[in-house]
Structures are given as structure tokens and as C-alpha cells.
Amino acid sequence: MDADPDLFKALGDATRRIILDELTDKDGQTLFEICGRLTMKHGLASSRQAISQHLAVLEQAGLVRSRRQGRYKFHHIDTRPLRSIIERWPIDREEPNP
């Protein structure tokens, strides 16, 4: 029984990984800023609706949280769900077993 299907599905898409990269560069962005960075910095031609969908998938996985501030909505990265990966497959071993 896989505990985190949403997490792995969210991370399985290149555009979603770039969204997480850009939120790591600058946390707390509007949809417009995210779209601008994907278009201008990465040459991605995704529509605004597509980026919205990607953000919904990331939110579902707990990797992005949206916050309403006044009339605006900002998106924040939340890497805490990634902890479950290293709890499942620890990375503290020095040497791989032959």
C-alpha cells in the first residue's frame, strides 16, 4: 500500500518540478509571476489554465500552499511532505552495499 501516491505523481512532472524550483528561488508568488517565470526563464509555453492545474496538483500533494492576502493569492512552497521519502528510504548510509 503506497502511502503517498499524490506526492510521487506531483513530483513526476517536469513543469511541476520547475514550479517548485522557482518557488525555492522566491517563495510567495502570484499565479502571474509563476507563469512569467516559466515563460521567460524556461521557455515553457503552458497556458495559465495549465499552470493553475499544476499548482492544484502540487497543493493536493501538500507541496504548495496558497495564501490569500487581501485581494491577492500567493503560492508558497512546503517541502515537509518530502520528509516521508527519506523516512521510507533512509539516505544516511555512507557506502552502498556491494
Partner: protein, 128 residues
Amino acid sequence: MRINITSVFVDDQAKALAFYTEKLGFIKKTDVPTGAARWLTVVSPADPDGVELLLEPDGHPAAGPFKKALAADGIPFTQFAVDDVYAEVERLKGLGVEFTQDATDMGPVVTAVLDDTCGNLIQLATMK
């Protein structure tokens, strides 16, 4: 045919005039009473005979939902050119102007997005 006017829908013309002149630094060009509202335009001091920005009342019922939807997604209604976005953001923040996007290097252009206090987001841009 030439483009002489562009407009922005504002919730209050007097408040808009104050913001667009005192904060952004434009100057009033035309101010004519037209019944309940005014034909009210501002221009850039760098181009006083250039394109005028009409501060247009947003009283139409469709304008409100449209402006709210754009603002929620952080989408600017229009864009103004500045020589140095980074410096302009600092200057405007000093005057209490709020930004939904700080100066950001987007490759060929550096942009920022501010709140005009009249229901719109405005993008500032410097082409490299």
C-alpha cells in the same frame, strides 16, 4: 490613425489622480467635467505631449468582477516603462506603495507589479 489615449478603470477618480501623480509621478493633462464623472487624463513628464492615460470610472457592473479576478491571480492590467525597475521599486516602497511582485529578472526584461490602490495591478518594466 494614431493611439493617443489608453485607459485604466479606477474605483475613485480623485483617489486615482492623487496616486498616479503623487506616487507614480505623472502629471495631470486634461480634467473636464462630464456629468457625474470627469474626462481625466495624466501624462508622463518625460513625454507631456505623448500618450495620455485616462483615469476612467469603473462603475459598469462587469468591471468589478473582472478587476477582482485579475488581481487575485496577480495579473497586471497594463504596463509602464521605467529606466531602472530596481530603483523605482525602492522609491515607490519608500512612498508606501505595495508590490505583489518585487523586481524580478525575467531574461530580456526586468519586471515588477504594484497595486494602484484603485483596484488594479500595474506592471513596471525595464528592457535590457
